[in-house]
Each structure stands twice: as structure tokens, then as C-alpha cells.
Symmetry: C2
Subunit: 430 residues, 2 copies
């Protein structure tokens, strides 16, 4: 007998196939039972008619409970009303394991209860859709960057020196030496860019921040491309092409998942390069004209970013921030050295910053001066300064926050649902 997956039943119309999966829901009356099945690749309905299956298979169909594991045999029928486009006319049902008292019923549950049961909650259609889209975003990013000739590198997670100061770092004991969990791989990626030209990292990053908002996780994933001989302008051009590529790939590959999340796909289809650009100065004016009292020289908060982004239908670059609100390694704007050649990319629909990027200082003495000004330990940055001593070149890079990007593309409120097992101020389990 042909074993297949729900994703692939379309290749077997009219054929008898076996699906190995789980019962998600059912209804039955008298001589017929409708089994809602899932197998991880999708959802499909199996129709069991009493006289068409062995007696024990029909009885089993009526007894099956939510999340029981079953092997279902059936004939694939096209059905335009079905979300998957297909249905199974069941010919046999074999029990693998009966599930008793599955704790997540089809009723509403509180979020903390569901997060405690995250290991089971990820089976639910909404969570399944979000994490499937996440995997497809990951895949699209890698396809895009690999296609552009980037080399994947893995910067270290445990580091002896901190990249941007030690506040908000998780500390650990590394065989008697103090060490930290990495907040960014950028500095290491800069070294790798001088060896490989164009590189990217794709890994977990950690912030011991005590914030508890819908945009914050304490463990999250970043994609950090870094490019030798790239200017601020080159950097923004790459970012907009990458974001367009990701969004269009997700529309192409995950239309069912987007629909199941009630995502307005028209808004995503609109995400095409080039993206609008405004300067920090213009953003400050925009806020003040919009009735937000915002003082020049501050960094934007979440409500500010939301307001700015709402003025655009596409992601918007906000560039050239005051140097003093940004990291020490950013290249000054040649037209105004109080500003830096950076850009944050704000997602539309109120999702805020998804990318932070900049051209990096490539002049040794200027970088050293900045390190002194920030009172960072020069010794720990000696290797980073070396990159400016030996064949330094203009270079740029950016960091894409994966979870915020998933939240935006899925159109959901809180980043905790965008990662398999969220780590927040109050949660380190399961």
C-alpha cells in the first residue's frame, strides 16, 4: 500500500493511500463519521461510511479521541470545498495509540496555560501555520543569500568580550573565566567578511533585558549579513531586495497558512523594492507634526516606530540617526559627523524595527577614539581593531530579527508565538 503525506495526496487522485497521522477533530452521526486528520504536512478530512469499512474500523472511528494517532487508508478525492482541495474516502482505520484527556481542547484557553503546554500547542492549526511560515522565511533567506554568493559562518555564542557593553548580557563561568552569551555575531562577521567578502550568520542571540513587551524575547534568532566593500547605499539596496524575496516566496509557498491566519495577502504583495526612505530628522518632524512630542536626539520607542511605519504601505528605511543613540562602530555621515550612516528598517502595519544596519567605521584611529569615548576595554577589542590595521576596507552589514519578521509576515500580535519555545523574563520552560 502506498504511504504518503497529506501535502502529497494531490499526486494520487483516485488512488488508495495510507496516511500516518493524528486525529485533530471529528464529528459523526449514525452511519457516517468525518475525521479531521493531520500528519504534520497538512490537514485533511476522511469520510468513514459504516458499510464501506470493516466493522472494527467504523467502531474505532466513533471512539477515536482528539490527538489519537492513527493510520488511515482511503481513496483520494478532489473536493473544492476542502481547504486542502482533497478529501479521503476512508477504507480502513488502524489505531496506533489512543489519547486520553488531551489538555488542549478546541475551546479557548489562556495564553500562559498554552505556553506551559507549548510542546503540544504547536500541533494546533494556528501554531502549525506560524511555525511553517517561520521555516519558509528561514529557507527563503538562505536561498537568497546563498544565491548572492554569501558564505554562511557561525560566530561564537560564548564570548569573553561583550560586543556593546556588558549590561543585558547573560554571564557564565567558562572553566573559571567569566564569559557571556553573544548578543550579536557582528564583530566576528566583520572579520569573516574580510576573509570571504560576503558572509552571513544565522544563529541564536541573547539579551538579559528585563523588558516584557510583545516585541521582546530573551533568546531570539538573528540573520546578520556583513559585506566587504559595501557602502551604506549598497547595504540598503541589498536589504530591500532580500525582504521582497522573502515575502514573495512566503506568498508563493505558504498561501494556505497565510489564509488560515486571515492574513491580508494584498498588503504583502505590495512589498516590492525599492522601499521609501526618510532621514531621522524627517521622522522627528513627522512625529511632531503628528502630535507626538518627540525631542531630537532621542531614540525612537515602539509607539514612535509604529506611528512612523503607519505612514507607509511598505517597509520604510529611517536613516542617519544621531551617533550618540547608536553603537560605537557606525561610520559617521560625511555631511554631518553628528549623524551615522545607519538605517533601521521599519515594517508596516505597526510591527516596528525588523532590521538594524549600518556602514561600519573602517578607519583605525577613529574606531579607537570611539572605543575610548564609550569607555570600552581596548584590550578586548584589539582583534577587532586589527581588522582596521590590515587591509581595512569600507564595509557594511545588518541584522534581521527573525521573530519580529515572522510576526509581521504572519500578521500576529506577539512574538512569543513565532518561535518554537519562547524564552521570556518569566519563562524558561518547557
Amino acid at each position: 500500500m502506498l504511504v504518503t503525506s497529506i501535502r502529497d495526496v494531490k499526486n494520487y487522485e483516485g488512488k488508495e493511500v495510507v496516511i500516518k497521522g493524528w486525529l485533530y477533530n471529528k464529528r459523526s452521526s449514525g452511519k457516517i463519521a468525518f475525521l479531521q486528520l493531520r500528519d504534520g504536512t497538512g490537514f485533511i478530512q476522511g469520510v468513514v461510511v459504516k458499510n464501506d469499512v470493516p466493522e472494527e474500523a467504523f467502531n474505532l472511528s466513533k471512539e477515536l479521541t482528539q490527538e489519537s494517532s492513527v493510520e488511515i487508508t482511503g481513496i483520494v478525492r478532489k473536493d473544492d470545498r476542502a481547504p486542502s482541495g482533497y478529501e479521503l474516502t476512508v477504507t480502513n482505520v488502524v489505531l496506533v495509540s489512543m489519547s486520553y484527556d488531551y489538555p488542549i481542547t478546541l475551546k479557548e484557553h489562556g495564553v500562559e496555560f498554552l505556553m506551559d503546554l507549548r510542546h503540544l500547542w504547536m500541533r494546533a492549526p494556528r501554531q502549525h501555520a506560524i511555525l511553517t511560515i517561520r521555516a519558509n522565511i528561514n529557507r527563503a533567506i538562505r536561498e537568497f543569500l546563498d544565491g548572492e554568493g554569501f558564505i554562511l559562518v557561525e560566530p561564537p555564542i560564548i564570548t569573553a568580550n561583550s560586543c556593546e557593553g556588558t549590561t543585558n548580557l547573560f554571564e557564565l563561568d567558562y572553566f573559571g573565566q567569566k564569559a557571556y552569551l553573544s548578543q550579536t555575531g557582528q564583530l566576528y562577521n566583520e572579520a569573516a567578511a574580510m576573509a570571504f567578502g560576503k558572509v552571513y550568520s544565522f544563529g541564536p542571540t541573547f539579551r538579559a533585558e528585563k523588558s516584557k513587551t510583545r516585541r521582546h524575547l530573551n533568546e531570539f534568532w538573528m540573520i546578520e549579513p556583513e559585506m566587504a566593500y559595501f557602502t551604506h547605499e549598497d547595504n540598503m539596496r541589498l536589504q530591500e531586495r532580500m525582504i521582497e524575496f522573502i515575502v514573495q516566496k512566503v506568498i508563493e509557498r505558504c498561501s494556505r497558512e497565510l489564509k488560515s491566519l486571515n492574513r491580508d495577502i494584498g498588503k504583502l504583495e505590495n512589498v516590492r523594492a525599492p522601499f521609501p526612505r526618510i532621514t531621522y530628522d524627517e521622522a522627528v518632524d513627522m512625529l511632531n507634526n503628528g502630535g507626538y512630542a518627540f525631542e531630537w536626539g532621542n531614540d525612537f520607542g515602539a509607539p514612535d516606530e509604529t506611528y512612523i511605519a503607519e505612514q507607509f504601505e511598505k517597509p520604510v528605511f529611517v536613516e542617519k540617526y544621531p551617533a550618540k543613540v547608536k553603537a560605537f562602530y557606525m561610520e559617521p555621515d560625511p555631511d554631518n559627523p553628528d549623524l551615522v550612516l545607519n538605517a533601521d528598517l521599519l515594517a508596516p502595519e505597526g510591527y516596528g524595527e525588523i532590521i538594524g544596519g549600518s556602514q561600519r567605521i573602517h578607519d583605525h584611529d577613529l574606531l579607537l577614539k570611539k572605543i575610548h569615548e564609550e569607555k570600552l576595554p581596548v584590550e578586548a577589542y584589539q582583534w577587532y581593531l586589527d581588522l582596521r590595521k590590515y587591509g581595512t576596507v569600507p564595509h557594511s552589514g545588518f541584522g534581521l530579527g527573525l521573530e519580529r519578521t515572522v510576526a509581521w509576515i504572519c500578521g500576529i500580535d506577539h512574538v512569543r508565538e513565532t518561535i518554537p519555545f519562547a524564552r521570556t523574563l518569566t519563562r524558561v520552560t518547557p
Copy 2:
């Protein structure tokens, strides 16, 4: 002027192009200079003839030092003697930045010295080749698993409970609560496999082991596929197809890098599924017949694995180990419950274990019994036990150690060269 990369000069034979890169080496005499250039995508020679370039460009060519950054303009010529197959007839040389006293000369240096300068050492051809192969192994793994319908998931790195006991774990303070860095994502991947069918994780793992061998790192990357409804047999079949795919893709895409490492490519071409299989019992006999006094019931050490693997020209599966030397979650062999349905895959040429895999216990009561026997805290494993209560199914998975796989495919001695920034007992910098 057309800016391109060394990788792409083949598309521009006879054309004038600009390469932005670094000087790797040079020689010059009288009216000619040979510049060895690198740009991260490859290496190429530029020939500068005094009368064919502006005078300052020729003078600069003679002054250029190792690792100076330069923009070279030249005409692409086919040259079958060149490793890249091409050479540049230089028409101009523009300095970006002169490098003085580059610490890594073309002489031999000690390994610790080079590891201290890892941020620069990765520019050297050998290191460049190894890390390029690493990136291509990563890419091939993802292509293979994505093509098989696997969903990428990211298990948490910071965990409150340890997967296989707390020895060898890095501990940290998570907002007042004791937590650990993950040693494996497997348990979480099992939860995800029940939601997505076939999943894999690709992330850093941590072992606070005090071993100092050429096969050990304290921070390393693992690929961990986990498949619902997969038996031990299905598991091994998947592994051998995946290893064949990776190795053949690397031969196809990295032949230049393999050659520069003097890798015997014939040995790699031989890596075709199916792979030989022996049982643990047969491996013990093999060792004893080979003059190694090995007692049944022990786990194999590195020399044992090397001896066993040397008897085969392909990777070899060693299956069905005694339960007591393996992790608590492995499914017992139905023919002999003292053994488990596991397999380690040993790479040839003395590289030892690159994969450890097994079928997992899916029976709730048996798993609970094992947790008690191992004196693990049942409470912390409650969520893992839940997977056996609600729709449990036979399932299997494995973990591929990335760095050991890179070492084997590259044919190099020590894993410290297989990762951008190695973390060992004595090294947490740069």
C-alpha cells in the same frame, strides 16, 4: 567599469573588469610584477607590466604589502596553468589601504599563535578552503532535508532541565533561576516531530567537558533530524542517503578547495549508499580479533572507533549497543532488551563517530521506568512524557556533528580548524 568577483571572472574572458580585494602575495622583478590577489571568493594572479599601466600604478604594485586592500582593474585571460583557470592582465591598481607588518607571514607559525589571530588566520588559503567547504556542507544538508519535506525548527538554547543529566553542562543564572546551555535539541525536536512529522534543528550545542582532544570542542554545531513514524531501519536509510548527498555535493561544488587541501577525492567519491552495517557485538569481536582487548558492555573510545572504521572504505553503521552505555530514551531491541535500536555512524579514515541516532521509546510506562532508573527528576521530564500520552507513535532521529563531518570531508586532523572561532578548554577568545 564592470565590478565582479574572482569566482565570476570566467564569465568575462577578454573583458576589462575591476576586482576589489586584498594582496595575498607577490613577486616582482624589474619591469614586471605578479600580484596574488584574493577577494573572498577565490584567488587569482594579476600581471602588471611597467609600460602597460600608469606609472603610479606600477610603483604601487612594487610597494604593496601582504594584506593591503586594493582595487585592481585588468583584462581577464584564460590560463590553464592557473589554479583558478584565469589570470588578469592588469591595467590599473588603486590602493584602498596599506597593511603594515601583517603578523601572519607566509612562513610556518605555531597553532596557538594562529588561533590567537583567528580573525586574520581565516584569510589564509587553507583556512578559507576549510570554511568554504563547511558552508557548502551546511548548504547541502539544508537542501537535502528541505527537499525531503523537513521543517526547520529551533529548539531553545537556554533550558531549565537538562536532557541527559547535568554533568558537563554550562550553568547560568536566568533571572534568578538556575538554567543550562543546551547539549542537544532532541527532546524538543521530538515534540516538534509530533506536530510537523519530519523536522530538523540546526544550531549550536554546548558541553562543559574537560576533554582536550582533536575531536572535541566545547561549543559545536549539530544537525538533529527527528521523524515521526520512522523506525530504526528508516532512520539509517535516511542517514546514508543524506551523507551521500552531502559528500557528492561538496565534490561537485568545492573541487578546487578539496584539491588545495590535498584531499584524496577518490575516497570521497566512494561514499555511496548503502553503507555497511555491523552490530556492536560484531564490532567487539572485530576489536578482539584485531588484538584490542575490549570488554563487552563498555562504550567504544576514539582508538576503538578508529580501528573499526579502518576496516571499511565507506562510513559504517555500528548498531544495537548495550542499553546501559546509551541514553535512557532509546527503544529496546525487541530481540534482546539489553540492547537498544541505535546506530552510530563512523566515518572512514579514522575520523570516528559523526552521527549518533536511535529509535526513541514511545511507550509511556517504559520511558517513565527508564527515567526512574536513571534517577532523573520526573517533574522536569513531564512535558517529554506527555508526548507518549497524547498520540504517541514510533519515531526516530539522529544528531550529526558538523565539525567532525567537516574534518572528515576536508581530511584534516583537528576540529579546531573546522569552525570559524573554536571554543576549547583553554580558549574563549578571540
